[in-house]
Symmetry: C2
Amino acid sequence: MSIQERKEIEKQELRQKIVDVAIELFIDEGFENLSMRKIADKINYSPTTIYNYFKDKTDLMFQIMNESFGRFLVNIEKAIGEESSDPLEAMKRGLKAYIQTGLDHPKNYRLIFSACTRCNEVELECHHKTENGEKALEQLIGAVTECINHGYFTKKDPLDLAQLIWAALHGLTILMIENPHFAINNRDQLKEDMANMIIRGLKI
Amino acid sequence: MSIQERKEIEKQELRQKIVDVAIELFIDEGFENLSMRKIADKINYSPTTIYNYFKDKTDLMFQIMNESFGRFLVNIEKAIGEESSDPLEAMKRGLKAYIQTGLDHPKNYRLIFSACTRCNEVELECHHKTENGEKALEQLIGAVTECINHGYFTKKDPLDLAQLIWAALHGLTILMIENPHFAINNRDQLKEDMANMIIRGLKI
DNA sequence: GACAATAGTTAACAGTGCTAACTATTATAA
DNA sequence: TTATAATAGTTAGCACTGTTAACTATTGTC
């Protein structure tokens, strides 16, 4: 390993540490209390060091958002459990797993989508795409295509259907997380009903 | 009109002015640039005056959120247009109107739901209910009940169904607003598809 | 051993939410 | 009519924020 290689690795390690600590702080202390100075304190560096690794706070936010998206995907995989031979069965399990995973890790889920809230509020033009977000969508498109090919779903554009599904799931998940009053007494029922509504709505 | 009444009215007027200016600033300058001092500047009062009318910034946020919700409802009514005799027809028009109104006034829509993002991030416990939010839900429940009574929708708890519908609509609307990449080329199609998916999903 | 690049630092600016202590103004009761 | 009390608004200040510019110390290269 050359010196340059070692330096590069060290750089990546510190960068990753910043991301990890930022997520930790977000989870522990919330959105409003996540500051560059607190992150710096936690890693025992001066606040300005962070700016050698991230353009600004928004940039950092998008990195931790992407990282959290990755962790969310891992958790979903776990929640889905063993593979299913029937695509429709797999789809239904996936739908419920998405909502449940969001509810199980509300702060994580919130983090994934709260970066956008910070991004260029004025113009509502955020040009970031998260790598892991794209990956998730690809996976969902695959599952939808399976359902179409097996004659379960209407023969429409799989991307369209995937976006429909994602939107519906996200809506329920984020409302439940952000509004503790929403469906306080019937969350399990609603989760089930949402999965059923989606599948019935797209069935041939 | 007694002196007390006049004073009360003046108080309400200033309070309303603060709310109006706060909304204006949010729309014009965005979330991050909305500060107590800027609001104070705009109404030519000292910043601390605001604290005589609102407990803190979060409190003010919830007031402007409620106000925006009210304006949103007015705009939806407009978008729905004339009354329809058929409840299912009315429902479909309402569904599309919700999404379209959100897209037509993205900053307004975002404001309605961004207050929660600020509320007690740590515990995810926000105990505010917005009056206008409750009102909207009541209305939706009414429309759903109509559809059930006419034999269009499955005989389930109208509150459940209304929450399902709202969640799905909200998910699509907020994703489109917050993520400019989401469904950039097929938004009209998606709006239509979402309405159809919901109705097919709930039909008897 | 000189030079340059890199990584990290300190100091500072302009702005933030919010509180405490103060001052005027106004309405009520004697 | 005047003293008292309540109300509405003010100033000054605290502890914090993101971010930049200028600096220093360390390290690798020639």
